[in-house]
């Protein structure tokens, strides 16, 4: 499962977004379309850290990085590359 697909799965399984996975689009707003509130974003951050083996710092936990599935995918991709560069093994 690629990063975007995994994030969509997290949204449905762990954050309890009711939009079906096959109706989710990369440019959907996590806040406006999926209705994430502050605790929903916290849960999404935690689950992404677990699923992808990365650490999302406070500096990266921003409205811009968590605006859409596509934005979050880009963040996770960057953090995974950083993890590899540091010699660790992302999931």
């Amino acid at each position: 499962m690629n990063i975007a697909a995994s994030i969509r799965d997290i949204l449905v399984t762990d954050v309890f977004v009711e939009v079906p996975v096959d109706e989710m689009h990369d440019d959907d707003s996590l806040r406006d379309v999926y209705g994430l509130d502050s605790l929903g974003f916290v849960e999404l951050r935690v689950q992404c850290e677990k699923r992808f083996g990365v650490t999302i710092s406070t500096d990266d936990f921003t409205p811009e990085n968590f605006a859409t599935v596509g934005d979050l995918t880009a963040l996770v991709d960057r953090l995974r590359q950083d993890t590899v560069a540091a010699g660790a093994q992302p999931r």
Partner: protein
């Protein structure tokens, strides 16, 4: 929807001008207010019909809120994170005529189609569930105290009166720019920020989650924000990070939960140029009740929530001796008209215009000091949670005969609660079913950390 009812304290033109000036940090463009108002009117709902608005923070939510109100409807904003099952149950309880959301599935609400309302969509609910109220009123849900399926009914003009009193208490004027990053479905944000900006002429800047100190500072700087409101949780976060309030901020209000006096003192010390107001209120009261202008008070009063707003009278139930804590009663012409939907104990009207807060206070030289809560709720990760409402929900599930809640703290001092549930039949299946229902139906803060399920001894319950 237009019709007789309570007169609104503002007209279409006032609202349209106000909304034109609102800055939405999360969403550019979109439908204009005229389009939204036209779409709402075309829904053809009778005057006084409740409309649930489940939209994220932003101009779109405000457009919808005022369009419903001006059309004679009764808006009720709820968190967009709320599950459709819960929204449907709430809609039934309050007799709603429509649910407005970003992308609602009509089948989940018993509807057949969606109708475009601006950039959102409405599901018009079956007429058999509708109950018509009175135009010029507003429903407000409360996160912790009203239960899962109820809301407070207020006159719109009394909310505006409360907003003016709040503005007077904190010195908010038309020269201010107000940043809203609290959810607009909180009574504080919609009344003390949005309506206060409308009636004073202040500019409104609306943001949304997730909260980030950097984005907060950037928004204050970029839009010359002078007035901001934070929860104690975020205030503590800023203190823990050693983050000073952004330059340019004239005033900060902190409320929604208890803030420790030492944190008030530290906020003052770290930000001596910022006016700091500690606020107390409850949705049932309209919502604002009292204000402490901490920057004008000695540290000895930093544990107080200040003095009542003009027009608000407080007393302690039973008139106990000086220095003794008792339940605070609030009397004002901004107190709710009624609670609608499923009722529960606590925070109720004890007479017209008088609400029992469920909060224990002592009053010292006119200043209110919070001493604890009578009501059955806790604050989990910054969200008020009604344990009574959670228990009620779990006890409504099949095979559940008993449910109790146990509140605790982890090593870091974070509050959580666990559920202990007694069921008839197999516990493994029941545990899975309860966990699934809890996760699907309750908001994140309302979900228990652990659920223990055991087979109930029915004899125990047969008295």
């Amino acid at each position: 929807m237009a019709g007789d009812g309570y007169p609104l304290p503002f007209g279409y033109g006032d609202v349209a001008r106000f909304l034109t000036g609102v800055v939405d940090l999360n969403r550019a463009g979109g439908a204009g207010f005229d389009d939204v108002a036209g779409d709402v009117a075309r829904l053809g709902l009778p005057a006084g019909t409740p409309v649930l608005v489940c939209l994220s923070n932003g101009r779109r939510l405000l457009d919808m809120y005022f369009a419903v109100l001006l059309a004679g409807g009764v808006p009720l904003t709820v968190s967009p994170a709320t599950s459709s099952a819960r929204i449907a149950a709430l809609a039934t309880e309050v007799g709603a005529g429509a649910v407005v959301a970003a992308r609602p599935d009509p089948a989940r609400y018993g509807g057949e189609t969606v109708v475009a309302v601006g950039d959102a969509q409405a599901v018009v609910l079956p007429a058999r569930y509708r109950r018509t109220g009175v135009a010029g009123t507003v429903l407000m849900s409360t996160s912790g105290t009203s239960g899962l399926f109820s809301a407070c009914l207020h006159r719109a003009d009394s909310l505006v009166r409360n907003a003016r009193r709040h503005a007077d208490a904190v010195g908010l004027t038309g020269r201010d720019t107000v940043l809203v990053n609290l959810p607009l479905f909180y009574s504080y944000a919609i009344v003390a920020q949005a309506l206060a900006a409308l009636v004073t002429g202040a500019r409104l800047v609306v943001s949304g989650p997730p909260f980030s100190p950097e984005a907060y500072e950037a928004a204050v700087g970029r839009y010359a924000v002078t007035s901001s409101s934070l929860t104690p949780t975020i205030a503590r976060l800023l203190l823990a990070q050693g983050t000073r309030l952004p330059v340019g901020l004239r005033m900060l209000t902190v409320g929604g939960d208890r803030i420790a006096p030492e944190h008030v003192t530290r906020l003052r010390s770290a930000n001596p140029d910022v006016e700091l107001y500690v606020t107390y209120g409850l949705t049932e009261a309209g919502p604002r009740v009292s204000t402490l202008a901490a920057h004008r008070e000695p540290p000895g009063r930093h544990g107080s929530v200040g003095v009542p707003l003009d027009g608000v009278t407080v007393s302690l139930r039973g008139a106990p001796p000086d220095g003794t804590a008792a339940e605070l009663l609030v009397s004002a012409d901004t107190v709710m008209l009624a609670k609608v939907g499923t009722r529960q104990a606590g925070r109720t009207l004890v007479a017209p215009g008088v609400v029992a807060t469920g909060d224990l206070f002592r009053i010292d030289d006119g200043y209110l000091f919070f001493e604890g809560r009578l009501s059955d709720f806790v604050v989990v990760r910054g969200e008020k949670v009604s344990l009574h409402a959670v228990r009620q929900f779990v006890q409504s599930l099949p095979d559940v005969v008993r449910c109790s809640t146990h509140v605790g703290e982890d090593a870091a001092g974070t509050t959580h609660f666990d559920l202990e549930v007694g069921v008839t039949g197999g516990t493994d299946v029941a545990r899975q079913r309860i966990r699934r229902a809890v996760d699907r139906f309750l908001l994140a803060g309302e979900r228990p950390r652990d659920i223990t399920v055991h087979e109930a001894d029915l004899a125990v319950f047969q008295k």
